[in-house]
């Protein structure tokens, strides 16, 4: 099963249109987007290498081949907007508000140092390594902290937006979920409530065709998972998750819709999971997923698609067009040379910081069960 095509699915690749949000992007924007795809891809590939090299413990949930969803959805947000990433969205933590400058300490996203400390389980992680992998967040940076329980942050997103409006804000919140996760009851409760109250919650569905070892056909009865929106009478869009500009367009439509008070929406981004569910599943995934399907599913690399688009627009000159070539390469094939040096350096800095950060002291294990009541008003 490959990323299914749907009638409502349009790809920018073939049909650029000046009425679309992406037509307003500058060349610099597009180049930044291209760069962010590299950043996300490199983060993923490097972590896999680190794990193989034995420098890293814990399970990796790869976002390889799904990077356009993160980059495209985050690029158009206001700094004050909120996001709620899940397991396959690690790059979202540092890509949020990347437009304000990756080095800008005031930007509304996490630093790569913080993210690496989380990956490596160090005390300088935003959560002081108390929960693993993507279970971090930041009240200050407007990133909702997730639990493992799939779809569990959608009602939280609704509550954050409810409070935002009571506070006079104009933020929107993007929540990310796999297509399998939409079967959870809390998905329905939260989307229904958001729809009743027209809360600006955009639910992005990363439909990578598989939920662990189960194909989407056993998780969702409709061809497009976005059709779940119809049950709530809300906007339901399908994007080509491999095309960062189509993701950008669809998400920006949903974001504008939400910000202008028209209510929540679902944006399904069709994609394909490159590897196993987590790295522990790579070998078994090769058994339960036909090779043919995997080849097809990975044939549309989001970096390649973006490159072609930029080339067509004349954004790339001859040299820069081919200087780096990460597309189509899996973690074991790609090397640092396949990535822009600033991308490699950026992550390198985060990793070094993490390796120098301490593991938390055991005593912290019993701290912070409760907030101190005395300090409350």
């Amino acid at each position: 099963m490959t990323a299914r095509k749907s009638s409502s699915q349009t790809t920018l690749e073939n049909q650029p249109s000046s009425s679309l949000p992406s037509s307003q992007l500058s060349r610099a924007d597009r180049l930044q987007i291209f760069n962010q795809l590299y950043l996300a891809r490199y983060f993923d590939i490097r972590l896999i290498k680190e794990k193989k090299r034995g420098r890293l413990r814990g399970t990796l949930y790869s976002s390889h081949n799904q990077e356009a969803i993160l980059v495209g959805s985050l690029f158009g947000l206001k700094p004050t907007d909120w996001i709620s990433p899940i397991h396959r969205d690690m790059p979202a933590f540092f890509l949020k508000d990347a437009r304000s400058g990756l080095e800008n300490p005031n930007r509304m996203g996490m630093s790569i140092e913080q993210v690496c400390c989380q990956v490596w389980g160090r005390v300088d992680s935003p959560g002081r390594a108390r929960d693993n992998w993507s279970h971090i967040g930041s009240k200050e940076k407007h990133i909702i902290h997730s639990t493992s329980m799939l779809a569990g942050t959608i009602p939280v997103a609704a509550g954050v937006m409810l409070a935002d409006r009571l506070n006079g804000g104009d933020a929107v919140c993007l929540t990310y979920n796999g297509e399998g996760s939409t079967a959870q009851g809390v998905f329905h409760e939260a989307v229904n409530f958001a729809a009743v109250r027209k809360l600006p919650v955009v639910t992005i569905i990363e439909n990578n065709q598989w939920a662990y070892g189960t194909p989407v056909s056993l998780e969702c009865p409709t061809e497009d998972v976005a059709r779940r929106a119809d049950g709530y009478g809300i906007l339901g869009l399908v994007a080509d998750g491999q095309d960062v500009f189509d993701v950008y367009d669809k998400v920006m439509m949903a974001v504008d819709h939400a910000r202008s008070g028209l209510g929540p929406s679902i944006v399904e981004c069709k994609t394909f999971r490159a590897y196993g569910h987590g790295d522990h599943d790579d070998d078994r995934a090769n058994k339960y997923r036909p090779n043919q399907e995997v080849m097809e599913g990975r044939s549309r690399d989001p970096i390649a698609i973006c490159r072609r688009k930029l080339a067509a627009l004349g954004d790339l000159d001859g040299a820069s067009e081919t200087a780096y070539w990460a597309e189509g390469k899996s973690a074991s094939e790609a090397t640092n040379d396949d990535f822009p040096p600033e991308v490699v350096e950026y992550l390198e800095r985060g990793i070094q910081f993490a390796l120098n950060s301490a593991v938390p002291d055991g005593n912290e294990g019993e701290q912070w069960v409760f907030a101190d009541s005395e300090v409350s008003r």
């Binding site: 108390r130 902290h145 997103a157 509550g159 409810l162 409070a163 009851g185 409760e189 939260a190 912070w368």
Partner: protein, 335 residues
């Protein structure tokens, strides 16, 4: 006491005391919002929030769909974005439908963020049996939440405590599960005057009756069973001390231990199922930490390990009663 009460009886029912606490906090804390099923227009199934939507508007007090998980999750999100939240469960029994959001999302938030985010949320609702509510309108399921670290658990037995503990809970930066005893909501016999701005700190037990022969520890409506049993026991020459713990988490162990210094005998009474219930927890703490004070086995009287059945004889059969307490106390004192 206060001017606003001049036209009413100065005595308050348990339910009105709860409403007063919410009302006062709504007026004092502009960040407090209240959400739940039918709490706005209707004012709640029992009327705890009656009049509050009219007074504070639909932004502050509003109705949610029948979605317990979304109610809790929304509360969590609102708290993450600066609000204090009172979330009502129409009956505490329905909290099971939002269980994951309580134990995994809400309870752990402060812990997993290493203190970055606190969750000033009170989840309250009517609880308890003895009213013929049957399996799903009678539960005392507090033990589940006591075994989910990060939640405070409170259960008032008097109007003054209802007011004082709810006020303290609404000001606590931690999530509080607040078990209200619906059979006490409008009970005339326990009406009492309550000073305005009355607060009862969480984690402090109350001694409801002093005695020297045996300690009866309880909470909620079983406190009254203990008090009645104590009256009976006097006739037998037995002087029982009755402790109402009021807060389960954190537990005021000292008051219990101090009582055992005098009495050396303990009965714990609650209406939850026995196994892994809070009565057993008290027995365990006492046995571990105050073993030397015990002259007889510490024992509990709880609901049998059954659901709460409907028909009256069935319901009474499985629940603690004055008679069961009296009989056990007599045996224990004779031990």
């Amino acid at each position: 006491m206060s001017a606003s009460q001049t036209l009413e009886s100065p005595k308050k029912q348990y339910l009105n005391a709860l409403r007063d606490a919410i009302d006062e906090e709504l007026s004092l804390n502009p960040d407090l919002i209240c959400l739940g099923e039918d709490i706005g227009l209707l004012g709640g199934a029992f009327g705890v929030t009656e009049g509050l939507q009219a007074k504070y508007g639909t932004d502050r007090v509003f109705d949610m769909p029948i979605s317990e998980a979304a109610i809790i999750g929304t509360a969590v999100g609102a708290a993450l974005n600066g609000k204090t939240v009172m979330a009502e469960m129409q009956f505490i029994d329905f909290i099971s439908c939002g269980f994951d959001q309580i134990v995994n999302m809400l309870a752990t938030y402060h812990y997993r963020t290493a203190g970055e985010v606190s969750m000033p949320i009170v989840v309250r609702g009517p609880a308890g049996a003895y009213g013929g509510g049957a399996l799903y309108h009678s539960q005392m399921n507090e033990a589940w939440f006591c075994n989910a670290p990060g939640l405070k658990v409170v259960c008032p037995s008097t109007p003054a405590d209802a007011k004082g503990l709810l006020t303290a809970s609404l000001r606590d930066p931690n999530p509080v599960l607040f078990f209200e005893i619906k059979e006490l909501y409008r009970k005339r016999e326990i009406e009492e005057e309550i000073p305005s701005h009355h607060i009862v700190r969480l984690g402090e037990a109350a001694i409801r009756r002093f005695g020297s022969d045996i300690t009866l520890v309880s909470y909620g409506q079983n406190v009254y069973h203990c008090l009645q049993a104590a009256d009976e026991l006097v006739k037998e020459g037995i002087n029982a001390e009755v402790i109402d713990i009021r807060t389960l988490v954190p537990l005021d162990e000292d008051t219990i231990f101090a009582s055992l210094e005098k009495t050396n005998r303990l009965i714990v009474v609650n209406e939850a199922p026995m196994t892994c219930g809070f009565a057993g927890e008290i027995i365990a703490r006492v046995s571990e930490k105050a073993f030397h004070l015990l002259d007889a086995p510490p024992v509990r009287i709880t609901r049998l390990d059954t659901p709460v059945p409907w028909a009256k004889p069935l319901e009474l059969h499985v629940l603690p009663s004055v008679e069961k307490i009296v009989n056990l106390a007599k045996r224990l004192v004779a031990f």
